[in-house]
Symmetry: C3
Subunit: 157 residues, 3 copies
């Protein structure tokens, strides 16, 4: 298995810059060897590619692609509190909130967009426990928000 940084390059992906916090919070915090990221929206260069509820304005396929984007942002957030992405030892937990039309029950397929990226980048260490739930509405009318818990290699530091 290549290093995560090599896998990202092989996928043609680069970690985006981590936006500065817009309030009294941080992109991620490391404590007791675990990194908790903030909830990540599928921003691309500071813009949401789509808004609305999945199952209504947004298709499940679009939403899965947005989940992949949000996962890339989450990896960047986690990497920002250690010495880069290769210091992320394994992904522990992924929680995916899908802004859902009340009739839409395909949250797992949406979340797969994130899960698959994590496995592509981290290999076996990218396999994780996961929850996917359908919520009423998300910040800025984003279709997807997700957060990660990641194990850091170095501990205690």
């Amino acid at each position: 298995m290549s290093l995560p940084s090599a896998q990202l390059a092989a996928l043609g992906l680069a970690l985006p810059p981590v936006p500065k916090p817009v309030a009294a919070y941080l992109p991620a915090v490391k404590s007791r060897g675990l990194i908790h990221t903030a909830g990540q929206l599928p921003f691309v260069d500071g813009v949401l590619p789509a808004t609305g509820k999945v199952g209504a304005e947004v298709s499940p396929e679009q939403a899965a692609a947005l989940a992949r984007t949000a996962a890339l942002n989450a990896i960047a957030a986690a990497a920002s509190v250690v010495d880069g992405v290769d210091q992320l030892a394994r992904v522990v937990k992924l929680t995916v909130f899908v802004a859902s039309d009340p009739s839409f029950t395909g949250q797992p397929a949406v979340a797969n967009g994130a899960s698959e990226l994590l496995q592509e980048v981290f290999g076996d260490s990218g396999q994780h426990a996961r929850s996917a739930v359908g919520v009423a509405v998300l910040p800025l009318d984003a279709p997807v928000e997700l957060e990660l818990i990641v194990e850091a290699t170095s501990y205690p530091v």
Copy 2:
């Protein structure tokens, strides 16, 4: 206090087999001495006994029973990453998502179905911090989804 395995037997309960992951995720992951489970639905032999929103198609009493079932599945998931249920030292956190009609505000009583099973199986070590929230819709139109954080006895391993 009996061992959790003895308590399960006394309750006439057996841990169900843990379903194989349907995507790039795992039933549970242990890291830094804490086990995070995936979100658990109230599957019984691979089937959801009921679907729909609590407060509409599903009664609070039904939903509490479903939460108990999902909690049994979560215990099985946690036990699958250590050497069985008796290696689960204590339950730390339970999060219960209740697919709710917007007028339904009785999520805590639904979550009690899970909390009570945890205490029956683990005794004082089953007492946990808990969040219960009402969400728009859950995967497969399940009425309840829940996840656990559990402390493993062995650490570090």
Copy 3:
């Protein structure tokens, strides 16, 4: 930076008494050096100051004030499982659930009510990762529910 207890006093705030659990769960649990609190509602002396959905019956400004109140309750819950608020080393993660009208997308501004209190009380150690999501409905029709993960100073104990 003053101690958190001194900051609370300077803000004219006192930690409220922690309500007894109403079911088989606890206000907070410490494990592996991390404290997970239960979901906290904006109770003041056992009463919710407002109920309903944000963006409908409840304004964003009211909701931010309620989030501040719930955060004070969460600090009290976390402090109750160690030897007081000064044993809370740093805030790791804040998750804010906002009961939202489906058209309301301002969850971050609501969550700021909690984030700002954490920074006022804990200074730099109060900066945290955060998720804010809009949910269909919360227990007792509360407009806001939140939970914390906090690092305890003493570890292992």
